[in-house]
């Protein structure tokens, strides 16, 4: 057989992932099996004997479950609303509503501090109105605020996936059930919910994975008493230096993540297959106009309440950072003490942009090739590979960072001090977003297009350049923008692989929050507002050019 370029190109992602994903994970596994004695499994024994770490595992599962259930409950009415109601401005409202999907966790955490914190908007307002001398609502460092924050950035995942699927669902099925005598509740329980269950399950799996591996929210909002697995791994590695134990915890976490991602990819595939079968949906409604009007107004109010943390952040950014803005703009080029690690903000911002652009290049190449590979795959084994390829989507960034720390610490691959390692970590986290943006478009591409081009005499490369590329290019741009936004907000692995000179915006925000004084809160606020604006702009671009036939994510 002739050696074919199109077949060998798959080697690029395979080599890349083997070296920068599988190898670090394998190192973690090996490290988790060693101990101080000859006896293997010591770290695991410590893990399962020590009630503290068992407690961490239990707490992580428990909070992720609650967060997922609440996210679904919060998201379902919105998903229904977007799937079955048409009104002017819907596209914009939907984009706004799913904005938290790409918000960096650190920005989300800042948003919550701006709203619910001791100096947050709500407390300031209440103190003014009732002339109190202490803030009445103390949510900081409570479990409640962790869960609320998880719900905040996971409901958007559920809304995106479920509403796209729901709107493609043939509404005649529900109408038929009604005509056959089903009450509203019966139609919902017997027809609608079972039919949207693939989308519901896949989005819940994703929400669970995100809550399970959440780091920024727990660190900033929860405080020390609420350590999840992710926080424990971070602390064991960077503060306590108990590497084998961290490895064992990472292995436990990886096992969970893989299972959850397996569920995600499986149901995600099911959802997209059903999507192809019934893309017909009439959105004519039997509600009288006033009821519909009330419903729409109620939903808009509901969505704005959900988004209030971001609103609070923006408000405080413009209202209160006036005195810190000089820090951003005048202090941009100064290395004055007080700026974080003696790095001026401009360098921090430049780091973020530089890393993000490099991440875009690497993750786009890797993601597009993988999407091509996955589009052709079928059969039972492909399910295992699919979830392996998509695993970084729900994987803990801290685990990844930890894996890099113990894998690339020797010559000739001592990359610990290099910024390249950060870009690679970001690329691993970001490429699944490219795959998910591009794959539906490749799948939806009419196979006869390629055949037609072939019959007209076009060569393989010619077909790719003049037929396939123009069709998938918008999707690649969407994927690249996703990668940019993800890299700008990446927190976990950046924190693990931190070198002062490589600090990014999220890291700077985190460090400012750790420093005492109102000045530093203001600086964190300024940085967060900036990051939020950058990510929001990227997201608007994504929503504008996204392939609307896909399942939302």
């Amino acid at each position: 057989m002739r050696f074919r370029f199109s077949h060998s190109i798959i080697l690029i992602p395979v080599v890349f992932l083997s070296f920068f994903f599988i190898y670090p994970l394998a190192s973690i596994l090996v490290r988790s099996l060693e101990g101080n004695t000859d006896f293997v499994f010591v770290p695991f024994r410590t893990l399962f004997v020590d009630s503290y770490y068992l407690g961490r595992i239990w707490f992580t599962i428990w909070q992720a479950t609650i967060s997922t259930i609440m996210s679904v409950v919060v998201a379902l009415p919105i998903a229904y609303f977007f799937a079955r109601c048409d009104f002017p401005g819907k596209t914009f409202l939907k984009a706004l509503c799913t904005l938290p999907f790409v918000m960096p966790t650190i920005v989300v955490a800042m948003g919550f501090l701006s709203l619910f914190g001791a100096q947050g908007l709500i407390n300031t307002l209440l103190m003014k109105i009732f002339e109190l001398d202490k803030p009445p609502i103390m949510l900081s460092n409570t479990l409640a605020i962790i869960i609320i924050a998880h719900v905040f950035y996971n409901y958007a995942v559920v809304v995106r996936i479920v509403s796209s699927f729901w709107s493609s669902l043939d509404s005649q099925l529900e109408d038929t059930a009604k005509i056959l005598g089903g009450s509203r509740i019966q139609v919902l329980c017997r027809v609608t919910l079972p039919l949207i269950s693939p989308a519901l399950i896949s989005s819940s799996a994703l929400a669970f994975a995100f809550s399970f591996t959440s780091l920024g929210v727990v660190l900033v909002l929860g405080g020390p008493q609420f350590a999840t697995l992710e926080v424990s791994i971070y602390e064991l590695t960077t503060k306590l230096f108990r590497l084998p134990l961290a490895a064992a915890l990472s292995v436990v976490q990886l096992g969970f993540t893989y299972l959850v991602l397996f569920v995600y990819t499986r149901y995600q595939k099911m959802a997209s297959m059903q999507l192809g079968l019934q893309s017909r949906g009439e959105r004519l409604h039997s509600y009288g106009r006033p009821i519909r009007g009330i419903f729409i107004v109620a939903m808009v109010v509901y969505i704005f309440c959900l988004l209030s943390p971001l609103g609070a952040l923006i408000f405080r950014f413009f209202a209160e950072t006036r005195e810190y803005l000089p820090f951003l703009f005048i202090g941009l080029f100064s290395d004055q003490a007080g700026s974080y690690f003696y790095l001026s903000p401009i360098i921090v911002i430049w780091n973020s942009v530089k890393f993000a652009l490099c991440t875009v290049i690497i993750s786009t190449i890797v993601g597009v090739i993988i999407a091509y590979r996955l589009s052709g795959s079928q059969g039972s084994i492909s399910g295992i590979f699919d979830s392996l390829f998509m695993m970084p989507l729900g994987m803990s960034a801290v685990t990844l960072g930890y894996g890099y720390l113990i894998s690339f610490n020797r010559d000739p691959f001592d990359l610990r001090g290099s910024w390249i390692i950060l870009v690679i970590a970001h690329s691993i986290v970001a490429y699944p977003f490219v795959v998910r943006s591009v794959l539906p478009v490749i799948n939806s591409m009419d196979k006869s297009l390629k055949d037609a081009a072939k019959l007209l005499g076009a060569s393989q490369s010619r077909i790719f350049l003049s037929v396939e590329l123009p069709i998938i290019l918008p999707a690649i741009l969407v994927g690249a923008t996703f990668a940019f936004a993800v890299s700008m907000g990446e927190f976990g692995s950046s924190l693990m692989l931190l070198r002062p000179e490589n600090a990014t915006i999220p890291i700077a925000i985190f460090k400012f929050l750790g420093l005492p004084g109102e000045v530093n809160v203001g600086r964190a606020l300024a940085m967060s507002g900036l990051l939020m604006i950058i990510v929001s702009l990227s997201f608007m671009a994504i929503e504008k050019f996204r392939y609307k036939g896909s399942g939302g994510f």
Binding site: D170, D175, A177, I179, G181, G182, S183, R190
Partner: protein, 359 residues
Amino acid sequence: MSLLEIAGLSKSFKDRVAVDNVSFSAERGEILCLLGPSGCGKSTLLRMIAGIETPDAGAVFYNGDSLTGVSPQNRGFGLMFQDLALFPHMDVYSNVAFGLKVQRIDKKLEVKRVNEMLDLVDMSGYESRKIHELSGGELQRVALARSLAPSPKFLMLDEPFTSLDRTLSESIQRQVRSILKSIGVMSLFVTHDSDEAFTMADKLLFMDNGQVVQVGTPEEIYYRPGTEFVARSLGFKNILQGVTQLEGGVLYIKTEIGCLEINAENSCKFADGHRITLLIDEGGVKVNHLLSEEVKSSNYFHGIVISVSFHGTAYEINTSIRNSSFVFRVHVDQVGAPISPGDEISLIINPKFVRVLTQ
């Protein structure tokens, strides 16, 4: 008052009128057929009768009671959608049993009723099949069984056979008609195929642009189509505009293909110089190869053959008469020598087969 009365139903979407003041009625056990092109408002009309859509004006009366404000689940009507809308997550049994389960009827009765229905549509033994395992005709029959299981007072079927191929569709049409007749359920079919309408219906309704333009039995409508639209829907191809001309008590009509004499029954209705539309049935033509002595008879035309196609017992011949297209069918026995394109041909149109459109 009839058992079912549809009175002045109207519905607009944004600036488009979908259904415009539609009224008709149906009796117990009657099968109605609603004919019209896609987008004429048929589906919206059905959705309003079913109660899924709220009309802007008008009402539905069953047994004298207005159904305004009654939700679809309480109307006791059935509606079978064009793409059947079988629940993909349930097997055949659960689909058919759905309407019974939501009423929480006794389990034994439910099983009995489902078995009866599957028997009726000849699908016994398919209870545990998944929906995606069934063929087109089987899906059709399961959907019918599901619609019939809760014993609807009135069953509506929205283009139920369009997805089937012609042969299958015809045999299913006959089956469905005999099933509906055997249980005596009052029903309404929607279709855009006039053959299907003739197979199924006791009464036809023609709908165009949101309005019902003609109602009648198949015979009434076939012999007295009201408008050009109805005539074309019935498959008539020769529709001509003309002006009446009374000459010695005989009515002639001047048309683009020449002067036509028509049946006496019509002649008293029109004054001289009246503009009318008429149709010529393709079957009412005799061919004359040789220019014979019949030349002097009226309704004698001269044309050039454009195309000939063979349809088993008849040839369909498209000719050009005075540069206007004219189509007719002749029985194979009546054609002596073969006719081919380019031939000059003379033909006689039987006045009995010329009909004046009534509206």
